[in-house]
């Protein structure tokens, strides 16, 4: 695990803001593979995706593996995505670039069965935080801690993330 401090102060502030905005305890029905979470506050996850990885199938495979392992209801209720992007191929402004990135995600996520919604990092607060194509930031409700898991996840790490998310 890597300390969240590596993401920078500004990113930390944004993470907190996003975390507060994440949907609360709406999860009720069981997922495909895991028991239904109990009522009360729930652990949440923020999946960071480097949009440049869209061009590299091998880079994205760990993310797709992760999504295949996470029950649909957990994806929909407990996960949100941040689409991290760099400069575009032209001088279009960041706002347009963010909308382009978000539009691409629509096609990609639908075609790959990814069910959590994702949002483009329009202020580029997360730029430079990803060394691999994707990572997940877990807000563990039980321990009140934030954990950072760069992809690819080992089997043990994946189990750990799953356990926290359905806790």
């Amino acid at each position: 695990m890597i300390e969240i401090g590596r993401a920078g102060r500004w990113a930390r502030a944004v993470v907190c803001a996003v975390a507060i905005c994440l949907p609360g305890a709406r999860c009720g029905r069981p997922g495909a593979m895991h028991p239904a979470p109990a009522d009360g506050p729930k652990s949440m996850g923020l999946v960071l995706v480097d949009v440049e990885s869209f061009f590299c199938g091998a880079c994205l495979e760990p993310l797709l593996e992760f999504c295949r392992a996470i029950p649909v209801r957990v994806q929909e209720d407990r996960l949100r995505g941040i689409l991290v992007f760099g400069a575009g191929p032209s001088s279009e402004d960041v706002e347009i670039r963010a909308r382009i990135v978000a539009a691409k995600w629509q096609g990609f996520s639908k075609a790959n069965g990814i069910r959590f919604p994702a949002f483009a990092d329009a202020d580029r607060a997360f730029r430079g935080t990803l060394k691999t194509g994707a990572a997940i930031l877990i807000f563990a409700e039980r321990t009140r801690t934030v954990r950072w898991y760069p992809f690819p996840l080992s089997k043990d790490r994946l189990e750990e993330v799953l356990r926290i998310l359905v806790d």
Binding site: E52, F55, P89, S90, I100, A103, K104, G107, A111
Partner: protein, 320 residues
Amino acid sequence: MNMRRIFMGFLFAALVFGQAHAAGGGGAIRKVSLEEVLSIGGLEDQKLFQWTGVATDGAGNIYILDAMDYSLKKFGPDGRLLKKAGRKGQGPGEFMAPRLLACSGERLYATDQNVFGIYVFDRELRFLEKIPCPSLILALAALGDGRLAVAVMGMASPGKVMVLDADGRELSAFVPAGGPGQGILMDSMSLAQDKDGQFYVAFLFRDSVEKWTREGNRLWSKAFLGQKKIATTEVQSLALPSETCFKDVALDASGHVFVLGGKLSKHPSRDVYVLDKYGALLATFTLPDPSHCLHIDSRNYLYARANDGITLKKYRIIYD
């Protein structure tokens, strides 16, 4: 095979591609400009997400490969989505990384980045067959009567241009190598064939546009970008070229040669060099948006990318 995949992925990212088409002739023009006549796909409509290959038929229909949702789409002349086919996978009619597209007669020819072969569809997007190819395909042109021209990737040997029959049998081949900077990916190219069967080749990483006879004799070679040295970047301890020179070549109905400049052009991925059939530079113009490819249909409409691949623009070419 893994190395090939890495290289193909590298190419994908470096350019996002090249392909081709056909014509003849080549007269004097001094200025070329564009008038937009159609736009397909936008920020909200979810028609296109990352289009890669485009082809057109005689009826004005537009066929587009989309790498983001692994599909082949057919649009009418008015830009309306008529049909969509394909999904992620390696079965018949499925794609993992759709890339090049060409249309000839009733058939569409599509490539997948890491597949040794060409997928054939009819114009209703029904999968028909797969034509085998001995190597990964970098460029594709449909020559009519079922023949195809492909530029294939070389590993131990240089890449080459091959003409295949409808069953994938090699009819002829030549190696458009030569000039500086031999090495991995250095033979990446796009190609087009004119009405006389002669080939135009534009190199992705070399400042060189060339014309070759079908027998494999080079007629001319031109440079337009002033490249002094081929810049490289290290990828998994291999030095791979990093600055693109020419991303695509296409011919209009009169045989003018349109070459899309890459990173080394003044306006990266936007400048288009218009040549006559002897390689003389007639004009240059600049696309409104960066593009990875050019397509010119039989009515002299030019197709290029906008919005980083979620939009395809169709332009009327205006000659002065």
